[in-house]
């Protein structure tokens, strides 16, 4: 079983965040330089992904959206197989059929990456129902964006999960953007967490760029779900530091907003805190960084070496 679980060490969180950042930036560079298919990177959102996933147990299950590389890597995905999938290679998690946008990895308990915005919300209730009816211990974590919260499925999913008391942790990664539309153009308020209240679902909001806070709140939320059997909504306030999909020059983004959030980039923030508190020294950090880069170098080499699927794979796996 290659699922990552985390003990208390904050250094492990940093290590994972560094890996994700290195992966995402390399994926973007490969797109720009070598015409590798573009991806929706999670640069800037690493703390949200790692903080939540680090709170999970091995039995918990994940559904996520198009911006899923961070969730997958935090859960223990092999960056080589991930990149192979992005490149449509046979060694990818889905034999190259998915590409970056629909990656699932059964061995990691990642049931779904939905690129239909809202698809993760629609299926999460079913996975929750399986957990409940088959008396399996794991909680279902459903990552979705502030954009997905505008889809009707948000309403339908949360209401059903509340009525049927399904063990689901909804995690809204509110990164202020919905592709080329700012969140403010799509809702009057600023809180998506509060949208849970009418359904009778408890919720909380957390600084999504602070991995320790995210992990603390996610742990609390998971505990409450395990104890009560009821769903919970956690909103992580964060920001999409690169564009929506590579390439994207973000010409439409207010530079002041972007600058303000760059100043809150979760990686330097965590690094500075750990360096200051003495939990990390410069040498260890640089070793971690090189380690991440090495793993990504190896991943790229693996993915590029991996063959494309044979043409007859075009029509396999359609029916069981």
């Amino acid at each position: 079983m290659s699922v990552n679980t985390y003990d208390g060490r904050v250094q492990d969180l940093l290590q994972t965040m560094l890996l994700i950042r290195a992966y995402e930036e390399r994926a973007a560079a490969l797109q720009a330089e070598s015409g590798v298919p573009g991806t929706c990177t999670s640069v800037g959102q690493e703390a949200s992904a790692v903080g939540v996933v680090a709170a999970l147990g091995a039995d918990d299950l994940i559904l996520t959206n198009h911006r899923s590389a961070g969730h997958l890597l935090a859960r223990g995905a092999d960056p080589g197989r991930l990149l192979a999938e992005v490149m449509g290679r046979r060694a990818g998690y889905c034999k190259g059929k998915s590409g970056s946008l629909h990656i699932s990895a059964k061995e990691l308990g990642v049931i779904l990456t939905s690129t239909i915005v809202g698809g993760e919300l629609a299926l999460a209730t079913g996975v929750g129902l399986s957990q409940k009816m088959l008396k399996r211990p794991g909680v279902v974590v459903c990552f979705f964006g502030d954009g997905a919260a505008c889809e009707g499925r948000f309403h339908e999913s949360l209401n059903l999960a509340a009525v049927w008391q399904l063990p689901i942790l909804y995690v809204c990664e509110n990164n202020q953007w919905q592709a080329f539309v700012h969140r403010r153009e799509t809702m009057l308020g600023d809180s998506i967490a509060s949208w849970a209240t009418p359904y009778g679902i408890d919720s909380a909001t957390v600084d999504g760029n602070d991995v320790e806070q995210v992990r603390a709140l996610a742990t609390e939320a998971l505990d409450s779900i395990r104890a009560s059997g009821r769903p919970f909504l956690l909103e992580t306030r964060t920001y999409r530091l690169r564009g929506h999909f590579e390439p994207d020059d973000q010409a439409y983004v207010d530079p002041d907003e972007l600058a303000a959030w760059r100043a809150r980039d979760p990686l330097p923030r965590l690094q500075a805190r750990l360096l200051e508190s003495g939990q990390l020294d410069a040498r260890a950090l640089s070793a971690m960084e090189s380690d991440a880069q090495r793993r990504i170098d190896a991943a790229v080499a693996f993915a590029i070496d991996s063959p494309y699927p044979a043409i007859d794979e075009l029509v396999t796996d359609v029916y069981a």
Binding site: Y93, C94, H102, K106, G119, M133, R153, E156
Partner: protein
């Protein structure tokens, strides 16, 4: 042999499969109210009324199917499938493929459709052809009470998502069902009446229309073979082609609108693969390219009638 209505046949199929396999469960708006006996037999956990929200009913079924349950969902009337298209098409139909075969989606979606109740176009729209044009799905639409039972049981056991359409006009008809375990495999058409001069191909309510037409034609010395497709995807091309190769003539009859209906696929398949055997053009008799009206005489006129089938056959033979 037991005599029962289609509703009873469906209940029986559900009860047998739920008894056989504890992972089968039934979800939908009112299923627990309307199929009370199933609640009594299998408990409220496995027969669940839902909020009024087709999208999440279907989504729940897809997620549950991927993770060990075997849901049957009742979405009531076919036009309501429009609220669940994403879950049925983009998730249930595609995610097995997109996952490289990691997950399967054994689930059955039931819906009624067709003329007979005068409920109009937001309850009555024969959209089975849409799902035949969506990869990864299977589509079933029975014509006989026995097939309602046998196909539903097979659909529940299938490892793939199956759309199970119930023709409103048949929903309360009755008929005989063989005793014991009665399974009808998906993907197999059946010859309802053998014949030599022409093949009448249909499914659901209009199978009976073809049978009536065949009867009339027999009285006039014309021998018509009637094929009930039963499964619309995968289509039983072999049975269709074998019959048409024998008769050399085909008329396809269904209630769904003509343009882009199942009849188009059947006609195109015949035209491509039985070309040499054809003695006449392949004709389609189908509903008009119009929404289904509520008004009784208009609704009746929507459905192809036996005399039109007879006339079409005579045109082919004339």
């Amino acid at each position: 042999m037991a005599h029962m209505t289609v509703q009873e046949a469906i209940d029986q199929a559900l009860a047998e499969e739920m008894a056989r396999d504890p992972s089968v469960l039934l979800l939908g708006e009112g299923v627990a109210t309307k199929r009370r006996a199933l609640v009594d037999a299998f408990g409220a956990e496995r027969v669940r009324n839902t909020p009024l929200a087709e999208g999440i009913i279907a989504g729940t079924a897809v997620g549950a199917a991927a993770t060990g349950l075997r849901p049957v969902i009742d979405l009531l009337f076919a036009p309501f499938l429009c609220y669940a298209m994403d879950e049925l098409v983009n998730s249930a139909g595609k995610l097995r493929y997109l996952s490289g075969g990691q997950f399967s989606f054994p689930l059955v979606t039931m819906a009624m459709t067709g003329a007979g109740w005068g409920v109009g176009a937001q309850h009555n729209h024969n959209v089975e052809a849409w799902f035949a044009h969506a990869p990864g799905l299977k589509v079933v639409m029975p014509a006989s009470v026995a097939d309602f039972k046998g196909l539903l049981k097979a659909a529940i056991r299938d490892q793939n998502p199956v759309l199970f359409f119930i023709d409103i006009g048949l929903a309360y008809t009755s008929g005989d069902i063989p005793d014991g375990e009665h399974l009808v495999p998906l993907g197999q058409a059946v010859v309802r009446r053998p014949g030599e001069a022409v093949t009448l191909i249909s499914y659901a309510k209009t199978v009976a229309v073809c049978e009536q037409a065949a009867q009339t034609l027999a009285g006039q010395g014309i021998s018509a073979e009637v094929i009930d497709l039963r499964t619309l995807k995968p289509l039983d091309e072999a049975s269709i082609l074998a019959s048409v190769r024998k008769t050399g003539r085909a008329v396809i009859v269904h209630e769904a609108s003509r343009s882009g209906g199942i009849g188009a696929e059947v006609a195109a398949t015949i035209g491509e693969h039985a070309y040499d055997a054809l003695k006449a053009p392949v004709l389609r008799l189908a509903g008009p390219d119009a929404p289904a009206p509520a008004s009784y005489p208009l609704e009746q006129a929507f459905v192809p009638q036996p005399d039109a089938v007879v006339a079409a056959v005579k045109r082919l033979l004339g």
